[in-house]
C-alpha cells in the first residue's frame, strides 16, 4: 500500500535556517568536545568513490578505518568504509576480524539512470561479495516529474533484495531544489523501508548542508513519533571539519535525542573529515596544535 503523500508537511525555510543558526552557537569544550570528537570519528563512513579507485587505495583506506591514528590512545575505529561494489571483495579481505562495516553504493550510483534489473543485480553483486550495508540512489528525474510511486517501488524492490543488510537511501538533495521536495522524498524513502536516509552522493554540489539535514531529521522524528520505528540519518559530502561535525551532532541530539547518538543510527559520509577530527583529537591529547604532516593522507 502506498503512503499518503499528501501528508508530507510543507517546510518553513526561514524557520529551518534560524533553527540551524542557533545550533551553531552552542559552545562545546574540553571533555565534552573530546567525547564529541570520538563519537564523530566513530560515526564516519570512510569513503572513496572515484573512477580512479584501485585495490591498493581501498586496502589503504581499510587500514586507516581500523587504525585512524595509532599514536593517540583510546581512539575508536570508524563505523564503516564505503566503496563501489567492485571493491567490496577487497574491503572484505582487508577488514577481516574487525568490526568496521562495509557499505557499498549501488543502483547505478551516482546517477541512478539504469534499468531496474541492473539496479537489483548491482545490489545483489555487492551483497554477494560481502557488503553489510547498501547505499542506493533514488531516481531523481522520476521524483521531480511527480512519479512518486515509481520512486517508492524502486526503493521497496531494493530493500527486498537487501534482506538483512541495512539500506541507506540517497536522496541527492542537491538536485531536489526545495526543502519541500526533500521532506517529501524523505517520507517516501522511509515509507518504502529505508533503514537510513542519506543526503547526497558527494558528486553534486551542494552536498550535505545543515538545513537539509534538519528537514530530514524532522521527517525521521515524525515517523518515530507516529510508529515508534527508528530510522538512521547520514549526511554525506561537504562535511570536512571537526567543528562542523560537532554542530551536526548538536543538531542530532536536540532534534532526535540520545537514542540516535551512536553509529547505529547516525553516520557521516566523508573522506577528509576523519583527518580533521584526528587533528583536533591530537591537539587535545598532545596539548599543542597539530599538523597533517603527521597523519596519513588516506
Amino acid at each position: 500500500m502506498y503512503p499518503d503523500l499528501s501528508n508530507s508537511p510543507v517546510v518553513d525555510q526561514v524557520g529551518i535556517e534560524e533553527r540551524v543558526a542557533r545550533f551553531n552557537t552552542r559552545s562545546i569544550k574540553k571533555e565534552t568536545k573530546l567525547q564529541g570528537l570520538k563519537l564523530a570519528l566513530n560515526m564516519i563512513d570512510l569513503t572513496t568513490l572515484e573512477g580512479k579507485d584501485t585495490e591498493g587505495k581501498v586496502e589503504q583506506m581499510c587500514y586507516k578505518a581500523m587504525h585512524p591514528a595509532d599514536d593517540i590512545p583510546g581512539l575508536p575505529t570508524v563505523a564503516a568504509v564505503c566503496v563501489y561494489p567492485t571493491h567490496v571483495k577487497t574491503a572484505r579481505r582487508a577488514l577481516q576480524g574487525s568490526s568496521v562495516k562495509i557499505a557499498s553504493v549501488s543502483t547505478a550510483f551516482p546517477s541512478g539512470n539504469s534499468t531496474s534489473d541492473i539496479k537489483i543485480a548491482d545490489t545483489k553483486f555487492a551483497l554477494d561479495n560481502g557488503a553489510d550495508e547498501i547505499d542506493m540512489v533514488i531516481s531523481r528525474g522520476e521524483f521531480l516529474r511527480g512519479n512518486y510511486h515509481f520512486v517508492y517501488d524502486e526503493i521497496a524492490a531494493v530493500k527486498e533484495a537487501c534482506g538483512k543488510a541495512r539500506l541507506k537511501v540517497i536522496l541527492e538533495t542537491g538536485e531536489l531544489s526545495t526543502l519541500d521536495n526533500i521532506r517529501k522524498a524523505s517520507d517516501i524513502a522511509i515509507a518504502a523501508g529505508a533503514d537510513f536516509i542519506k543526503t547526497s552522493t558527494g558528486k553534486i554540489q551542494p552536498a550535505a548542508t545543515m538545513p537539509v539535514t534538519l528537514v530530514m531529521l524532522q521527517a525521521i522524528k515524525d515517523h518515530y513519533d507516529r510508529t515508534g520505528i527508528m530510522v538512521g540519518m547520514k549526511p554525506a559530502g561537504g562535511i570536512s571539519t571537526a567543528k562542523g561535525a560537532l554542530q551536526y551532532l548538536v543538531m542530532l541530539y536536540e532534534t532526535l535525542g540520545p537514542k540516535w547518538m551512536s553509529n547505529e543510527w547516525f553516520r557521516f559520509g566523508a573522506s577528509s573529515l576523519a583527518n580533521d577530527v584526528i587533528l583536533q583529537l591530537a591537539k587535545e591529547y598532545k596539548g599543542v596544535y597539530y599538523s597533517k604532516d603527521y597523519i596519513s593522507n588516506d
Binding site: 598532545k286 599543542v288 596544535y289 597539530y290 599538523s291 597533517k292 604532516d293 603527521y294
Partner: protein, 293 residues
C-alpha cells in the same frame, strides 16, 4: 556641510580577509596625551590557529609560482605602499613619531620592498650550486622554501620592522603569520590593506595584533609551523621559543638587526628560511663509449 571624520576599525588580516579577533577582546591604543586613538584586536591562540590553516593552504600556490612572478608582486607591494605614503606617515605621527622620522621610515620601507623584489629570482642563482661528484651524476643543490613561518615582528617600529621581516620570508616562497608591534600596531593593519590590493594571494601573509607574552608559546609550539623568527629581546620568551621549537624541529631565528640601517637588508635573511635540496641526476659517462660532448 560639516564633515564628520569616519574612524577606521583596526582589524586583523587572515587568509586575505579582515576579520575581528575571534576572542572579541581589544586593547586601547593611547597617544602621548593618554588619549585613546584606536581599539586594537587582542588576538588569541585561535586566531593564530586559523591563520596557520590559511597560511598552509596558500603555501602550495605561492611557492609554486615562478620566482619572477613573486618578484613582480613584491614590486607591486612597493607601488601600493608608495600610493598610500601619507596614510602611513600620519599613523606613525599619531603613534608618537615626528613627521621627519615618519617620512624616512616610510621611504625606507618602500625601498625594502623593492630590494627584496629584486632578489626573488636571483638568490637561487647565487646560492644554488653544482657539485663535483665522482660518479656519473649531474649533482646540483638549490634552495627551496621552508613552509609556514611564524614571525614575531619588531616592537620598536610600526612599519619598517614589519616590512623588513615579512619581505625576506615571502621573497623566498614561504608563507607567514606575523604578530605586529604591540605598542605601535596601526601601520600593520594598513599594511595588510596594501598587501590585499597587491595581487598577493590571500593567506601568504597573515597579520595579527596582540601581545607576544600571550602568543609566543603558541607560535613556537604549533606543529604545522616550520620555522619561527623572533625579533625582540625578552630572554624568557627566547628560551621558551627555543625549547618549544624542538617539538617538531622548527628552524629558530633570532633576528636582532637595526632595521633602519642599510646593512640590515641582505639575501642571507632569505636564505635563513630556505632548505637546500640536492638532486643526483644520472648522466651518461662523458667521454666513455664514444659519447661526444
Amino acid at each position: 556641510m560639516s564633515e564628520l571624520e569616519i574612524l577606521k576599525t583596526y582589524k586583523i588580516y587572515i587568509g586575505g580577509q579582515f576579520p575581528r579577533t575571534e576572542s572579541g577582546r581589544y586593547y586601547p591604543l593611547m597617544n602621548k596625551k593618554k588619549e585613546v586613538i584606536a581599539n586594537i584586536s587582542l588576538s588569541s591562540r585561535k586566531d593564530f590557529r586559523n591563520a596557520v590553516v590559511a597560511a598552509r593552504g596558500a603555501f602550495g600556490g605561492w611557492s609554486g609560482r615562478t620566482a619572477f612572478n613573486r618578484g613582480q608582486i613584491l614590486y607591486r607591494i612597493a607601488e601600493m605602499l608608495e600610493g598610500r605614503k601619507e596614510q602611513f606617515i600620519g599613523e606613525i605621527v599619531r603613534q608618537g613619531g615626528t613627521r621627519k622620522q615618519a617620512e624616512l621610515e616610510v621611504r625606507q620601507s618602500i625601498d625594502r620592498c623593492v630590494y627584496y623584489s629584486g632578489w626573488c629570482d636571483k638568490f637561487q642563482q647565487l646560492f644554488g650550486t653544482v657539485n663535483p661528484v665522482s660518479s656519473s651524476h649531474f649533482n646540483f643543490s638549490v634552495p627551496e622554501p621552508t613552509g609556514v613561518v611564524a614571525v614575531i615582528a619588531p616592537e620598536d617600529t610600526s612599519l619598517l620592522g614589519l616590512v623588513s621581516v615579512i619581505m625576506p620570508v615571502i621573497a623566498g616562497g614561504n608563507v607567514c603569520v606575523v604578530l605586529a608591534s604591540e605598542s605601535k600596531p596601526l601601520c600593520s593593519v594598513t599594511f595588510a590593506e596594501v598587501l590585499a590590493t597587491s595581487d598577493l594571494p590571500g593567506g601568504v601573509v597573515n597579520i595579527m595584533t596582540g601581545t607576544s607574552k600571550e602568543l609566543h608559546s603558541h607560535f613556537s609550539s604549533h606543529m604545522d609551523v616550520n620555522a619561527i623568527v623572533y625579533t625582540r629581546d625578552n630572554k624568557d620568551e627566547k628560551k621558551l621559543i627555543a625549547e618549544n621549537a624542538t617539538l617538531n624541529v622548527k628552524r629558530v631565528f633570532f633576528w636582532n638587526n637595526d632595521w633602519s640601517k642599510a646593512g640590515s637588508e641582505n639575501p642571507y635573511l632569505i636564505m635563513d628560511l630556505q632548505e637546500i635540496k640536492t638532486t643526483w641526476h644520472p648522466i651518461e659517462q662523458i667521454g666513455v663509449g664514444g659519447a661526444k660532448y
